[in-house]
Symmetry: C2
Subunit: 328 residues, 2 copies
């Protein structure tokens, strides 16, 4: 039986904890803000794909507590990191350290954005790091109660791609099989970064745009009907241009841009609320660096012109600065 | 004695009402939100340049009421329009109509942005329209109490420049002399649009940037020290490029950009709060079209590439959309 620690019990963490537990894995969840309800009532999922269910994994307030609660000397096989990629002052790689058994535990990073896996690879060079990209519209409607609809996909691949070993591959396969055993989707990729870039086309553009304008995607298109669609298209092309510079020109193309635009245009009014809009509306820090900062830095390094992305980035960084200053 | 109606009694309207009254003009102020305190206590100005003073002009709740209060058949010589350039559903040109005597009353438009004079010229083609650009850091600290510091300049010129008649010129001179008689600064320009563009270099960039990021100018530069200054410079250059297209290449140049950057960099921490930031913090509608929309439209018409300004514009329009939707 696989022993799995889920680090970060927001909506994505809850969903994958539920699926892995359905697959028969032994699950412990690190809960910080929602420890009390998780301990007393467990987690409830309302999903159009997986039905309604409540499950009660072991819970702990910290990684150390989760380790202490484990039967002695039995290490975790996987740590699934589902925290937000924001700078909290303490690296999540540092926080999971007590639960990482060298050369044994695989770290599955299901986070948005680019470059999010690097800190885990640096901290644990002898462990497998699995990069995960998920499409799964979820929201935490109250603590430990998650609503999920429409779709669920998980792309997985070892990080970094070019250093993949047979052990990394089999670990990635094993994790994928758990998800599939739960009746969900998982796909192992040769180069997971292709999937990160594909998702970034939408995320790097819509997330900051909706957060800064406070509009859902369709509302934003409606606010300046003669300009907004062209603007979003050009912004997405900037992401594609950066991806091309890194050698992804064959797989990240204009058709991906057009598909994204089409998807937004045909949504039900008033469109979707990207996670960054939800965060900004709740005065929570936003995933600036992972979602857009990293793309802008790569563009600058390779001298790709990304004026729209750079504008979105400096505005978001300013907003983040304002938010942090307010909280001091 | 000049008879002057001041339409819009915010901080700029109050300051110019005070100066014109010091110059001996007969002043009536249209007060909407601040009618009661204006009637009972008058206006108070705390100014580092003009001292502290209270003055009590005639006040009215509407233009029609101001006309009815006038001695019969004596028309206003000037109407000074100091309302914000936001779309309220009713055109300010329509609102001042009862006070405009054809071929007599001059309309002085002291508003931010570009293209703000057009509606007055269209509505009153036989009257002089004087375009005014002011630099005067003021804020209304409470209703009818205005704080002012640092500087005061008013540039004046007939609108549109190319149709200026001798009557327009002498009316502009007369208004200018009133301001100067009050001990303040006024300069009559051959082409006032040059001054509008010069002010726009700072306004079109800093106003939306600060409003969207919620930062004062220095805070914004501090939030991304390696990128923000270059970004602001490039944004200002986009404004300069649009001005060049209209034939202002000789007078709106790179040195204006560098002067603006230098001015922001040497401010006292945390920098200044542009009016649009104050508006957005108070959930008030912002001057999107006059301050940036018009620039973007001219750029599109003349095929000048302004990706940064366009980004700022679509984000602000989205924000404005969100704000108006919230108020319904």
């Amino acid at each position: 039986m696989s022993r799995i620690l889920v680090f970060g019990s927001g909506s994505v963490g809850t969903m994958y904890a539920m699926l892995l537990s359905r697959a028969g894995a032994d699950i412990a969840c690190v809960c910080r803000s929602n420890y009390e309800p998780a301990l007393s009532r467990g987690f409830t999922v309302h999903s159009t794909l997986f039905g309604n269910q409540t499950f009660k994994p072991r819970v702990a307030k910290s990684v150390q507590e989760a380790v202490d609660n484990q039967a002695s000397s039995v290490p975790f096989d996987f740590i699934v990191v589902c925290v937000k990629a924001v700078d909290t002052g303490v690296s999540p790689a540092e926080m999971i350290k007590p639960a990482v058994r060298e050369s044994h535990t695989s770290i599955v990073v299901i986070q948005n954005g680019l470059g999010v896996e690097a800190i885990y690879h640096q901290a644990f060079p002898r462990n497998t790091v699995i990069s995960g990209v998920t499409y799964m519209p979820t929201s935490q409607v109250e603590p430990c109660v998650v609503s999920h609809s429409e779709t669920q996909t998980l792309f997985l691949g070892p990080y970094p791609t070019e250093l993949t070993t047979p052990a990394d591959k089999s670990s990635t396969e094993a994790f994928s099989q758990l998800i599939v055993a739960a009746g969900a989707n998982a796909t192992v990729c040769d180069d997971i970064q292709v999937e990160r870039w594909k998702k970034l086309i939408g995320n790097t553009t819509w997330n900051p745009v909706c957060a800064l304008s406070r509009c859902r995607d369709l509302q934003f298109l409606h606010a300046t009907p003669d300009i907004a669609q062209g603007f979003i298209t050009e912004s997405m092309r900037e992401v594609v241009a950066v991806a091309s510079t890194l050698g992804y020109g064959d797989v990240i193309r204009e058709d991906a841009v057009q598909a994204q635009i089409q998807r937004s245009k045909t949504r039900q009014w008033p469109g979707v609320q990207p996670s960054m809009l939800a965060d900004i509306e709740n005065d929570r820090p936003v995933e600036v660096e992972a979602v857009i900062g990293e793309v802008v830095r790569i563009a600058r390094k390779h001298q790709v012109s990304v004026p729209r992305l750079e504008t979105l980035y400096v505005l978001l960084k300013g907003y983040d600065y304002h938010l942090r200053a307010k909280q001091i």
